[in-house]
Point group: C2
Chain length 407, copies 2
């Protein structure tokens, strides 16, 4: 079985999260993805987390399975190499993914001179091109103000670069949509996507703009409670913390059943004059519900209820640190077909994920390590750009390109 | 200019965030997306935020631009209608997006009896089919433990359902990848994607698995600091809070320049014996850097430095609540081509986003409101399934389908 995106070649000039994640995602679906970088590596070459030798595990994670070419783009010959690579002939070529803001030779209008049906996916901070990153977009759209313990006031920023991750997946989607269009019509195009716009649109998609503009409500902090239905964290007898969710009717009834507290919930509803079978009323009265459940969990260790909950499809999980997750979750091991132990040169052997997709028409491909900077420079110059040995040697000798050389 | 995904029809049986978001995203790219629901509406029909009349703005946001058919799927005729809709003949048909767990008639093997090249995208909680939602996945993978004020210990859950949003975009990507494969080979398939696997893979992609397994580090809370370089929040003279990022060399030098503190940073580096031009050293010594910057911001109002920062491409933003963002950001208005004021019947008029993409080969389409439940039942039965007036009438009369009727 072939990989799904076989025959598609994406040339990538990127850094940090969103754009490299888009390329890596496509590489893990079978596209050939070539990342070009400056001779000294991109802006994200040393992005944390790093090893004690300053090798970036972040970089290794977001550039898995890509080929790497290192080019001095301050030189005319370097610019020509990158241009020719982006605009190489062939039906699967001519796709450029970038979040760099290089005006002139690397912008859409210039590149299109070399290939009229070029597809260029450009990820921006704001649509006007202002520098914005996940860490600045998130405070600006309001989530930190709604995050943290109920009643507290200091805004709390998220740690997962969520907007980058969403934007990266979306950029890969936009690339495939544009490639579909080109296949059907022959027409290439520039696709722009701004990180901030992705966040602003999500405010609308999730109903938050309506909450402000229709209800005139500025959502406060609700701690770890699930908004709008019942969901809460609890401390167990063995001092662990679990998250429990009763979002749907079925989950709510199931919770009453497995805990034996259904009658207590009914009595609570009667006392409050509330219909706790409605998700909104469960949210409004969440503190009262929590008071009933709190002693139940305080009396039990996780192992006392885990099997019961799982067998009855209760939706719950345990709070864990990153390390605890690695140490205790069987899914974070090679028992999960998504993961392999991989030796990433310079870093060591550790657990590396492939694609989370399971396609019935394509085999699950094992993850492929990240390349060294310039690892494929020579192959790309000769194999894709068709340069002869002499030309390739001169480019290396003149310092226009970098990377290891063969034999 | 045509919309990008014109000719593609996606039938959706979904609820909540990830799967409806995938469908809505494709609808905003020009696909025809038909969501089917039970007669009383899906599990997310009353999901918060809701209006005072219990109309869901969440539902309206995640189902924009889709057609709606309401069917009693407990009946054989209802099952037949949904099956025929999913498996309708035609090259753009036969694509089913779902997060429902209906065994039997609605599973891949059963549906494929009716259309061999069916593409079915199935979003799961875990790959084994256990019920997991964003609110439970996030604590289990470790982010809440790393979120919140430095030195504090209580885990803090995120408010943005980030894993849902990432998974939704990814599901749309998987759908297009499978459709590309079908176009090239004629082969359909089942595509499975588990919410938890998306989160586990991201732990690897972002270097966190390496941090644990190679460095043996369990990342603590770093408050609102940017991890691994310099970025911090500050309170200004007018009592506002801003986020400042100096991730790259250029941003760091720019910060020294616009604040006039470059010499103070140099002196600090010398005093500490640190090279603050390295991003990691800026992170290690972030508190000392913050001590220098804190009085600078405490002495200035936002308006005193905003223009200066913007003109010099300093990467910064202001912390705002959702409501403050709506009230003060010009991008959250119809001045942004992504937004329109739309009247969503039953809810009212408010700001609604279209797609964040800007495609040069397709015009920006204005956002389309969400449909009423069953709004297109009649059109779909006659127009797509080819039933005559008499057959359609009987289905309504027998309560097999629901929705408004014409004439």
């Amino acid at each position: 079985m072939a990989q799904l995106l076989q025959g598609l070649r994406v040339v990538e000039g990127t850094s940090f999260v969103a754009a490299p994640l888009a390329g890596m995602t496509l590489a893990q679906l079978g596209a050939e993805v070539i990342r070009f970088d400056r001779l000294q590596g991109g802006l994200d070459h040393y992005r944390w987390p790093v090893t004690s030798d300053n090798r970036s595990m972040f970089w290794a994670g977001l550039n898995k399975g890509k080929k790497s070419i290192a080019v001095d783009m301050t030189t005319d010959r370097g610019k020509e190499i990158v241009t020719n690579l982006i605009c190489a002939p062939g039906p699967g070529n001519g796709i450029f993914l970038t979040n760099l803001r290089v005006r002139g030779w690397m912008d859409y209008d210039s590149l299109r001179q070399h290939r009229d049906d070029l597809i260029m996916i450009s990820i921006l901070g704001t649509r006007g091109g202002a520098p914005q990153v996940d860490y600045t977009v998130n405070p600006a759209v309001g989530f930190p103000h709604a995050t943290g313990p109920e009643g507290s006031s200091d805004p709390i920023a998220h740690v997962l670069p969520a907007w980058d991750c969403i934007t990266g997946q979306k950029a890969a989607l936009g690339l495939l949509a544009a490639e579909r269009h080109r296949r059907l019509t022959g027409e290439g195009q520039l696709v722009e996507l701004a990180l901030k716009d992705v966040a602003l649109a999500m405010l609308g998609n999730l109903g938050i703009l309506g909450e402000v503009m229709v209800n005139d409500v500025d959502r406060p902090k609700y701690g770890n409670a699930l908004y709008g239905a019942y969901g809460q964290d609890f401390i167990t007898a063995d001092g662990r913390r679990i998250m429990l969710v009763a979002l749907t009717d079925r989950q709510w009834r199931g919770l009453g059943k497995v805990t034996g507290l259904a009658d207590a919930f009914t009595a609570l509803g009667e006392r409050l004059g509330a219909d706790l079978n409605k998700e909104g009323e469960r949210f409004i009265h969440r503190h009262a519900i929590t008071e009933i459940l709190k002693p139940w969990f305080a009396d039990r260790r996780v192992e006392d209820f885990a099997d019961l909950f799982n067998q009855n499809s209760v939706t719950w999980s345990e709070f864990r640190s990153f390390k605890q997750a690695v140490e205790t979750d069987p899914d974070l091991s090679t028992a999960h077909p998504m993961f392999e132990m991989i030796d990433q040169p310079g870093i060591g052997e550790y657990l590396v994920p492939g694609s989370p997709f399971e396609f019935s028409a394509a085999e699950r491909e094992p993850p492929v390590r990240a390349s060294h900077l310039g690892e494929h420079t020579e192959d790309i110059l000769s194999g894709i750009l068709g340069l002869d040995d002499h030309q390739v040697s001169r480019l290396f000798d003149d310092g226009v390109v970098g990377g290891p050389r063969k034999g």
